[in-house]
């Protein structure tokens, strides 16, 4: 997985969420973005996922501009995206949340969609909950459905925006374990997270994003164990204080 960002900028009015960000990633399997809240992790992920059109600068992921000529539609269809707040479709059952995109976006016949959905739903231990509405599921279950939906079409890259920030510790462990399994299975993943232990265990590359720029980028072991930059050292000493 290659990511190349050059002077990538995203402005919301006077605020620059991404401020001429530069990043060169080559051959990553799992890439983790860490850093303070409001530093630009989510915006970068949304740009990488083709959900956000940068104000200026260049971005290429595996050689593709995510918000390319069709406004990013074909890119979004190739990849999977998971949100912090689950964002399941509340009017559809867990099952339909997974099958509807398979049918309407990926053009699978209902039977094929069903078998693909069954596969990912069973994999995440959701068979007993498949016919419930999101409101009837716990946060952990909802996020597992979100994960099932994001991987059902076998995405090239799975993009996870703080996938466990809205979950309690037990559910967090549950969801992280599944993400770990996906990574072990060879799934290419970019995620933002505040779970440093998880980032260390799963990611091979880590970038610390702060104030809309990449403060430090390197191997997971390098960034977490011997950070070069002062801002990384301060950030890590804060988040690891009670770890």
């Amino acid at each position: 997985m290659d990511i190349s960002a050059a002077a990538l900028t995203k402005r919301y009015g006077p605020l620059a969420a991404l401020d001429a960000l530069d990043l060169e990633v080559q051959g990553a399997r799992v890439m983790a973005l860490i850093g303070p809240s409001g530093g630009g992790k989510s915006t970068l992920l949304r740009a990488i996922g083709g959900l956000e059109l940068p104000t200026s600068g260049a971005l290429a992921v595996n050689g593709v501009d995510p918000s390319g000529k069709d406004g990013g539609l074909s890119w979004r269809r190739r990849n999977g995206f998971l949100f912090q707040q689950f964002n399941l479709f509340p009017h559809l059952t867990a099952y339909r949340n997974v099958t509807l995109p398979l049918e309407k976006v990926h053009g699978h016949a209902p039977e094929k969609a069903k078998s693909l959905a069954d596969e990912s739903i069973e994999r995440f231990g959701l068979a007993a909950h498949a016919h419930k509405l999101p409101a009837q599921l716990s946060g952990g279950q909802q996020q597992r459905v979100g994960l099932a939906r994001a991987i059902a079409h076998r995405p090239e890259i799975l993009i996870l925006d703080e996938p466990t920030s809205a979950l309690d510790p037990e559910m967090t462990a549950e969801v992280l374990e599944l993400i770990g399994e996906l990574a072990t299975g060879g799934q290419r993943i970019i995620l933002s997270t505040h779970e440093m232990g998880f980032a260390r265990a799963v990611a091979d590359q880590i970038a610390l994003i702060a104030a809309g720029k990449v403060a430090e980028h390197g191997t997971a072991a390098g960034v977490l164990e011997s950070p070069r930059e002062e801002i990384t050292q301060r950030f890590l000493s804060k988040v690891m204080r009670f770890a």
Partner: protein, 263 residues
Amino acid sequence: MSARPGAQRLLLEAAVGLLLVTFVCALFWWVFANLDTAWEWSRAWDYRAHLLDGWGRTLWISLLALPGSCLVAGLLVAGSRTKLRTVSWFTRGFVELVRGMPLLTLVLIGYYVVFAQKSVSEFFHLDGPEGKIAAGIALLSIFTAAYLSEILRGGLDSIPQGQIDSARAVGFDRVQVFRYVIFPQALRRVLPALAGQFVTLVKDSSLLSVIGIMEFTYGARTYNSATYGGIEGFIMLGIGYLLITLPIAGFAHWMERRFRYTM
């Protein structure tokens, strides 16, 4: 949420229920005991064809104005959401104009100033009583659509951005985002308000009598004058409207339960 009601609660419900029924019965008795005019239900029976004719016309007007108003409302919502500023301003202006006028005024202006003019009625082939009804249905549709479009716009705007993000993320195109994610949720949210507006449409159709459409209210009033005060016609009038409006309300409540997705 509440557990099985206890015996005490049941007793209270029964007592209050009895009190309410007694009160309503007493009220009715008092009203009817003071009537100066006598009931003559046989006259109503004699005029049944006349009354039924008016009721049928009201039913038809409602059944046609209902989809008509939805159609116009759809156009107004699309117009107000388009990226072309001039079109959205124009639509908003139109909606405010229509909502700012009483239906009676709109019907009077719409009919006597526009549709009743010879060149217009000939252009739309609206001469004759059917033409008058068609004009009435069109005016009623436009009036109701102004309200429906505002209800729908509010519903569409209430869908959180996260839903739109999520729909785009799974790969839906713009039309699919609207069709599979925004619209179904918005519709469910505004269903009670829509149902209320549809019921209002049925009742509002009574104002079409001012341009001489012989709908139900018109029928009851002609019955009243033809029989020199046959007040039973007004009771029939109330029942007749309820026969149309209650099923609409019932259907809406069923839809609400059927498509509920919040616990």
